[in-house]
Amino acid sequence: MDSLIESPSPADRSSARPDSISISNVDLSLGQGAARVHILKDISLRVGAGEAIGLIGPSGSGKSTLLMVMAGLERPDRGEVVVDGVSFNALDEDGLARFRGRQVGIVFQSFHLIPTMTALENVAVPLELAGVPDASERAARELDSVGLGARLHHYPTQLSGGEQQRVALARALAPDPAILVADEPTGNLDEATGQQIVDLLFTKHVERGMTLVLVTHDTLLAQRCDRVVRLRSGRIDGPAASRHWIETA
């Protein structure tokens, strides 16, 4: 908390550094035929490097889809997405995967650890895929940094929910990504455990100065971000609000 308060204001960050994420006029529909739904409608959004933004909105408003667009997991039908200076329009599927492996860390609501791998191996996966030679050592350090130094060789089923999410966080952080995206990271955890994970998430965000995009239903959690973007029916609902706007709303 303290570190957040001490950090520069969002406006300062955006102006001091180049855009980490720049989304321009993005449209996206999913499904086919009669089931096709227009999910994102002419979305434009800029996120400064090192900024933390919270995406909030009711179910079906398009926040998770917007997160996927930012992470290069979903291609928009129209518009441009530029992350860390790289236009996604210029990358093919494999190029996007490689970019993601190095520059984007993802934390899921359901952790999505690989059940056949130990905690250490799970964390090492993105490093191994990126061809990092000391993947295992770096993974061990990353797990140690999230407090799981003693659980390296445990399989996901041998870990609690909170521990699994820590492993997922360590895995997302391991390649030292420029942006970290988290989709309801506390959605499958009890309140106390969720709080610990959130603390850890923000601590790492500040320590490493990376951009954080957080999708959540929890307004209290969103308040901890530098800026909150509210989505409604696939559109950004009003101007992107700062943390202070949320606090006073």
């Binding site: 997160l67 530029v82 490689r98 492996g101 190095r102 056949t116 993105p126 191994e128 895929l129």
Partner: protein, 864 residues
């Protein structure tokens, strides 16, 4: 501002897919047991067949000298070697002479039996040993004793003959004009295999004994075999070849059939090769059926691992990376299956020799045959790759969005084009190996086309079945409505069940139809106008009298009598026989001596299809009529010349016409028929048939015995062959072959049942879900069970109809085209197959569901 693309390139790490694949395998083999078993079974069949055949070929090669009875053998038909020929052979090594002929043995009570008589000299056997019971030196066995009523020669008889004529050691039999005392039973002869298939039991006598029978008339069908054992120093491989060359060069007119120790039984070796190929194709069929199991297993595995695949991609793995990981995993499992199969297959020759070694009539030398084993493993891996590629290719496009959005998971698309191209390449390699290594490439090609056709048809049957089910009016009965809906709903079991059951059934029906037809052909009714007897070695001087005698003995019978000589084709269209390049179908014509005849009329059962028949009183240069298909196989046309060696003389004849011959009539037919003057003055015998007009089913054996006895009494030199007995002998061999085919087919069937079980188990999860939801909504277990049974029954019945149709067509093609026999559809066996298939499908289908139905809904719902 955007960065250059190369910034997101990275170096590939060798071994990464293997590392990740091995980690993935930690979850165990769940869902892969059928996969591994299918590959193991198919590979086992191919490795086993290959290993046994190679061990057998090794045995033949290893024992070649013993089987041949020497280093080189020279055989002559109808004549003994001349003095200069014998002198030539003696110059090159030790010589042993044997003669074989088919004749009648008569017991003292008058009973008669056809025997394969073999007369040997004192040197026999130069190699190996005959097994006699009681054991005694060959000299003592065959020696002549002076008896009160004349000379008595020693003999050894096959136990079958002793049983057939109620004889025991010490009893006497007469053959022709000589009396023989049976001094021993002969259990095994070292050189028996080189002789080919015999129609009667062996009767071993001395050459002197044979001469005493007075059966050695000019032209009688005696085969004289001269075996030369080279001096002990000449053991290198070139020595026999040098003798063969010298014999051809020095005595070009001899007309003998020469075999050397490395090719002791070419016919047997060829039969083994051909049969191995058939069994390999049956093994491949097992692999193909197993391939469906592979595809099913890979598809459900990929389905279960979608989250993990998506997670890999979220962490930076490209589509190609995840494909490589799962491909590696599948190939590791395929390798495990293939190795299991190869190990069992490799052990097969050892197991066979261990268990049945003493019963085997063939020399099997069990050994590891790395070539055969490697080939079977390659077949296994390629099959896994060919069938796994489609579901694996779809891994490439698994969306990471699956991790966020549950609904997306049901979307499955066609794999990217590059994987389809790879699949096509793998299939092409598989086909190229199967056809390229086949002995008979045409058969292999037909197999490949038929397999592709059956696959395509089964897909069409499944699609058709689903389309029909979709369009059916909604029935009132809930059970039926549910069953029909299950057949066509998305993710229905129909395609995989139809494919696995259909393939298995098609193979089973093919085998049972072929089996039934072979049995019918060789063991049941004879063709409508088939003769009941053949009479051979009728001296031409008595042939008229013999015909009259037969007509008198069997007044309503039809007698056909033709002159017969034996001769070898030594050249055709100016090319030496050994340099002619015949098609596979026609090779046999050149490999041994052939029966020849002459006549002024077109023979019965033949039809001139090209050229003109000669006038009945033709008296010009020799003309010959050739069987059309074989002439084509040898590349001969009307107007070409053919040189045949008959009794040591070369006779050149011009082909004046071609005939088509109905071989199945079992009448007297010849490949080569000459003009009447071609063999003027040559000593020869006649061959006759007796065809009885009535159904011989009742009391046939008694009547037949009377005919045999009457002929033997009046014409002791004539040999009578009962067609029924001869066919039974062939039938015994065929039964053994069918047994081997059944063994290999059993592997295909087990595969099919495994695949079917696997396919049904793959749908089990959905089935449990449906069952529990329906139970929650008030459906009783009985009603659900009924609905599922009805569904399986409908799918099974439709597939069974297709399986029976496809299998019957395949069997018809094999029986009529490859075996050139007549085909009669076996309705009984088809019905049994259908009933068994339905029972298996319903039982396998219900087995899994039954467990789910017995669970309380709440417990299952919590875990869904």
């Amino acid at each position: 501002m955007t960065l250059a693309l190369k910034s997101v390139r990275r170096r590939r790490i060798p071994g990464l897919p293997l590392r990740f694949a091995l980690r993935e395998l930690r979850s165990g083999l769940r869902g892969f047991y059928v996969f591994v078993a299918c590959i193991a079974l198919g590979v086992m069949a191919i490795a086993g067949v290959g290993s046994v055949a190679a061990s057998l070929s090794d045995g033949l090669a290893h024992e070649g000298r013993t089987l041949l009875g020497g280093d080189v053998s020279f055989s002559l038909i109808q004549r003994e070697a001349k003095a200069d020929e014998i002198a030539f052979l003696r110059e090159h090594g030790s010589l042993s002479v044997a003669a074989t002929l088919r004749t009648m043995a008569r017991a003292s009570d008058g009973r008669l039996a056809l025997v394969e008589l073999k007369a040997v000299d004192d040197a026999y056997p130069m190699l190996g040993a005959a097994t006699l019971d009681p054991a005694m030196p060959m000299r003592d066995l065959l020696a002549k004793h002076d008896g009160a009523s004349g000379d008595v020669y020693g003999a050894a008889a096959d136990p079958t003959l002793l049983a057939r004529l109620d004889l025991k050691v010490g009893d006497r039999v007469t053959v022709g004009g000589a009396t023989f005392e049976i001094r021993s039973a002969i259990a095994a002869e070292p050189d028996k295999l080189a002789g080919g298939l015999g129609f009667g039991p062996r009767f071993l006598v001395s050459i002197d004994g044979l001469r005493a029978t007075k059966l050695l008339q000019p032209g009688s069908l005696v085969r004289w075999i001269y075996r030369v054992k080279l001096p002990d120093g000449a053991t290198n491989d070139r020595a026999p070849a040098a003798l063969v060359d010298a014999a051809r060069a020095t005595l070009p007119q001899a007309g003998w059939e020469i075999r050397s120790r490395d090719n002791a039984s070419p016919q047997l070796a060829r039969t083994i090769t051909r049969f191995t190929q058939f069994l390999t194709l049956v093994g491949l069929a097992a692999l193909l059926v197993g391939g469906v199991g592979v595809a099913n297993a890979v598809r459900s595995h990929i389905d279960r691992r979608r989250d993990v695949i998506a997670a890999f991609k979220a962490l930076g793995a490209t589509g190609r990376d995840v494909f490589a990981i799962y491909l590696t995993q599948v190939m590791l499992l395929a390798m495990a299956g293939a190795l299991i199969g190869a190990v069992i297959g490799a052990a097969l020759p050892f197991a066979i020799v261990g268990a049945f070694g003493h019963l085997l009539p063939l020399p099997v030398v069990p050994a590891l045959h790395p070539g055969s084993l490697a080939l079977s493993v390659v077949y296994g891996l390629l099959t896994a790759l060919a069938f796994g590629m489609w579901p694996l290719g779809r891994v490439h496009d698994v969306p990471v969005a699956a991790l966020f959005r549950e609904a997306v998971t049901s979307e499955w698309r066609r794999p990217p084009l590059r994987y389809l191209v790879w699949m096509a390449v793998v299939v092409a390699v598989l086909i190229a190996i199967a056809i390229g290594l086949a002995y008979d490439k045409r058969v292999a090609a037909v197999f490949v086309v038929a397999s592709a056709l059956v696959f395509a048809l089964l897909r069409a049957v499944a699609a058709g079945m689903m389309a029909v089910a979709r369009r059916l009016p909604r029935p009132r009965a809930t059970m039926l409505r549910l069953a029909i809906a299950n057949i066509h709903r998305p993710g229905a079991l129909t395609p995989s069940v139809v494919l696995s059951l259909g393939l298995g059934l098609a193979v089973l029906v093919t085998i049972t139809q072929i089996d039934g037809n072979l049995r019918r052909q060789f063991m049941a009714a004879l063709p409508a106008h088939a003769p009941s007897f053949y009479f051979i070695d009728i001296p031409s001087s008595v042939s008229g009298r013999f015909t009259a005698f037969l007509k008198e003995t069997v007044p309503h019978g039809t007698v056909e009598d033709v002159p017969m000589l034996r001769g070898r084709i030594v050249a055709a269209r100016g090319v030496k026989a050994e340099d002619l390049k015949p098609s596979q179908d026609a090779e046999w014509v050149l490999q041994s001596d052939r029966g020849l005849t002459y006549t002024g009329e077109v023979p019965k059962g033949s039809r001139v299809v090209e050229g003109h028949w000669w006038p009945a009183d033709y008296n010009g240069p020799p003309l010959v009529s050739f069987e059309k298909k074989l002439a084509d196989g040898l590349g001969l046309k009307v107007g070409d010349t053919v040189v045949v060696n008959v009794l040591g003389r070369d006779i050149t004849a011009t082909i004046s016409n071609m005939r088509s011959v109905d071989w199945q009539s079992l009448g007297i037919n010849f490949v080569l028929v000459f003009s009447p003057n071609a063999f003027r003055g040559a000593p020869h015998t006649h061959i006759a048939t007796l065809t009885e007009p009535h159904d011989r089913a009742g009391g046939g054996a008694v009547k037949d015995a009377a005919v045999v006895k009457a002929v033997a009494d009046a014409f002791p030199m004539v040999t009578t062959v009962r067609v029924r007995e001869a066919l039974e002998t062939v039938g015994t061999v065929v039964t053994n072959l069918v047994l081997a085919i059944r063994g290999a087919s059993a592997v295909t069937l087990i595969s099919a049942i495994l695949v079917l079980g696997g396919a049904l188990a793959a749908g089990h999860r959905h089935r449990v879900y449906d069952a529990v939801i329906l139970k929650t909504l008030g459906a009783t277990r009985l009603r659900l069970l009924g609905a599922y049974a009805l569904e399986y029954l409908m799918i099974g019945a439709a597939t069974a109809m297709f399986g029976v149709a496809a299998g019957s067509v395949a069997a018809w093609l094999i029986v009529t085209r490859l075996m050139t026999l007549s085909f009669v559809w076996q309705a009984g066996s088809a019905a049994v197959v259908v009933v068994v298939a339905l029972a298996v499908t319903v039982m396998l289908g219900l087995a899994g569901t039954l467990l789910a139905l017995n669970q309380k809904p709440a417990a299952v719902l919590r875990n869904l």
